[in-house]
């Protein structure tokens, strides 16, 4: 467990116990366990179809669980219908009510039961101010920009003071600049309210820049749940290594250990990787190395990999070289010096054993 969710913590805001969801024969969510500490920002990241949106809909109560328990603040809500849950969902396409204006949308959740009109108006105005919509309260929804709609959707959910806010790719419809601004703003609002956020995205930058912890999902399972730093530096599965960051993957077979350094036989020769897992010799493994940890040239004590220069992506502050290993494996190398090798040239790439991760291979 990460230090952000210690065992001694108070009742977690959200706890999933062995949650599974079947659609007919299709296992959309497969035995997911997850615990979210009070006020924690957790991102659920994965490719489309990995079950992340289904998981979020289960939390909202829009889908039932086939098996397992959903607990919110210690209470089992698995059988509680969506309109009785203390979670609120922010939709990818906002799902704003087109016949209401901004204030009407924000007020919706407050006006369903008995309510005091003045108190509702006060809360709506306050929430409008929090998301920066004070001047737009009487605008029809059709006249808002994407970013403004996003804020209305957020305000409409937050004003009901949920225990947990669920966000389903809320920034994916915005342009790049606005997305980055909204990321900062979401994080600010989350901190200010001290509310647990569960944020579903396929975008690594969004997940890493906002979340305290990130869960990487694949085929209905959470493959790894860690802080962005740990996730980036030490992916635990091949899928995570491929999905997160710009890792290069070298498949091989574990030859044995030399102290706390594993020796892996790869296509081009032996590779040394710092590792404490103590896997059995002969295990199929992959070695993951971040693109920026690969260097051109030779250095004592480092692994050396021969590669052939194939192409280049210029990213402004740096170059990304695309190279091929002898067995055809594609390799990406981030380079900050200006020198560009000739296409087709033989290069030597090196990396330190402690910069790579050893991962037990997928079957």
């Amino acid at each position: 467990m990460s230090q952000l969710a210690p065992q001694t913590a108070p009742v977690p805001d959200l706890e999933l116990v062995q949650v599974s969801k079947m659609f007919g024969d299709f296992l959309a969510v497969d035995t997911v366990d997850l615990s979210v500490a009070p006020g924690e920002f957790v991102a659920i990241m994965g490719p489309s179809g990995c079950g992340k949106t289904t998981l979020l809909r289960i939390l909202a109560g829009l889908e039932s669980v086939t098996y397992g328990q959903v607990k919110i603040r210690g209470r089992d809500v698995s059988a509680v219908p969506v309109n009785r849950r203390t979670t609120r969902l922010v939709w990818q396409n906002y799902a704003l009510f087109p016949h209401l204006d901004v204030a009407g949308n924000i007020a919706f959740g407050l006006t369903l039961g008995r309510h005091d009109k003045a108190a509702v108006a006060g809360k709506v105005a306050q929430m409008g101010a929090l998301v920066g919509l004070d001047d737009f309260m009487t605008r029809p929804i059709g006249q808002l920009s994407g970013g403004q709609k996003q804020r209305v959707a957020l305000a409409r959910a937050l004003v009901t003071e949920p225990d947990i806010l669920l966000l389903d790719e809320p920034l994916s419809a915005l342009d790049a600049h606005l997305r980055i601004r909204m990321q900062a703003e979401l994080r600010r609002i989350q901190q200010q309210l001290g509310m647990a956020f569960i944020y579903v995205t396929h975008n690594q930058h969004e997940a890493f820049s906002m979340a305290d912890r990130v869960a990487v999902m694949n085929r209905g399972r959470i493959e790894q749940l860690d802080t962005p730093e740990v996730l980036y530096a030490t992916p635990k599965t091949e899928f995570v290594a491929r999905f997160v960051g710009s890792n290069n993957i070298l498949p091989g077979t574990l030859a044995g250990y030399d102290g706390d350094v594993a020796v892996v036989t790869c296509a081009h020769g032996p590779v040394r990787v710092a590792d404490a897992q103590g896997l059995a010799a002969g295990t199929r493994v992959v070695v993951a190395i971040a693109a920026e940890k690969l260097r051109r040239g030779l250095r004592a004590g480092d692994n050396t990999v021969p590669a052939v220069m194939r192409g280049r992506e210029f990213a402004g502050s740096h170059n990304v070289f695309l190279m091929d290993l002898a067995d055809g494996t594609e390799i990406k190398v981030v380079s900050h010096d200006g020198a560009i090798p000739d296409y087709g040239a033989e290069e030597r790439l090196c990396f330190a054993p402690e910069d790579a991760s050893l991962i037990r291979g997928a079957k």
Partner: protein, 265 residues
């Protein structure tokens, strides 16, 4: 200029098209105000006698009254049924859904003559034949289908997330329908009502079979027409046309601004 010639020709064509469409109406209005007993030239002077006769006689006015009871009532009931059915068809998958849809749309496909015969037999058996209630019931059956088509089209444009968002914010099923689905469907509901009303208002064949002495307007007009050529028909036609115009203008003024407001994606 050659270009101008083409434009002129185009305008002439447009004028002819309009004339083709509106000439019968012009003739109707013109001869409702002319002393001629038969619609023909030369004109024999302006008069309101046909209108006076229309009101003195009272048959056609009474029929108009019947129609103005039956058609709005039938349109309202049909629209309510159509909304409920449309909502169910749009939201749920259930066994027999296709069959139900086919069943509801069946009255559109069956020739009204056949339906009329069928209704006559059925209604005679339950002693409803020849009443306004019979016309009302048969019209509900007939006009639910087109109303459903329009409402379902509108509902199918509603993102599923909209209703889910209402639930998520704490709304019960009923509250979500009342506060989100109904407002969204409103343009469709109004359109459906209007179309259903028009269908019922115009409907002749079935009404002729089942209406008996409480005739609706189209049936009454036919009866008058069979007996003799009576310029009162022009007068009642003009009155109905004027009413239609008034309703349409009112609708456009009230409804169009609402309809053209773009639905939010």
């Amino acid at each position: 200029m050659k270009r101008n010639a083409w434009i002129g020709l185009g305008r002439l064509w447009l004028g002819l098209a309009y004339a083709f469409m509106f000439l019968p109406l012009v003739v109707l209005i013109l001869f409702s105000l002319q002393a001629n007993r038969f619609p023909g030239f030369p004109l024999q002077g302006w008069t309101l006698q046909w209108y006076a006769r229309l009101f003195d006689d009272g048959t056609l006015i009474a029929a108009l009254g019947h129609t103005m009871i039956v058609s709005p009532a039938a349109a309202s009931v049909a629209t309510i049924i159509a909304f409920l059915a449309g909502y169910a068809l749009n939201r749920f998958t259930f066994p027999g859904k296709t069959a139900l849809l086919g069943l509801v749309t069946l009255p559109i496909i069956i020739p009204p003559l056949i339906l009329g015969v069928g209704f006559l037999g059925l209604l005679a058996r339950i002693h409803l034949s020849g009443t306004l209630l019979a016309v009302f019931l048969t019209h509900v059956v007939l006009i639910t289908a087109p109303a459903l088509a329009i409402i379902q089209l509108r509902l199918s444009q509603m993102p599923k997330a909209l209703e889910e968002a209402a639930w998520d914010l704490g709304a019960s099923e009923w509250q979500a329908v009342r506060r989100v689905v109904l407002p969204f469907a409103l343009p469709g509901i109004l359109g459906a009502w209007l179309l259903a009303f028009t269908f019922s208002f115009d409907e002749f064949i079935i009404a002729w079979f089942v209406s008996g002495f409480d005739q609706t307007l189209p049936v009454a007009i036919y009866s008058v027409l069979v007996a003799a050529i009576d310029p009162s028909l022009n007068a009642i036609g003009t009155i109905v046309f004027a009413m239609s115009c008034a309703v349409l203008i009112a609708l456009e003024v009230l409804l169009i601004p609402y309809l053209i407001r773009k639905p939010d994606a």
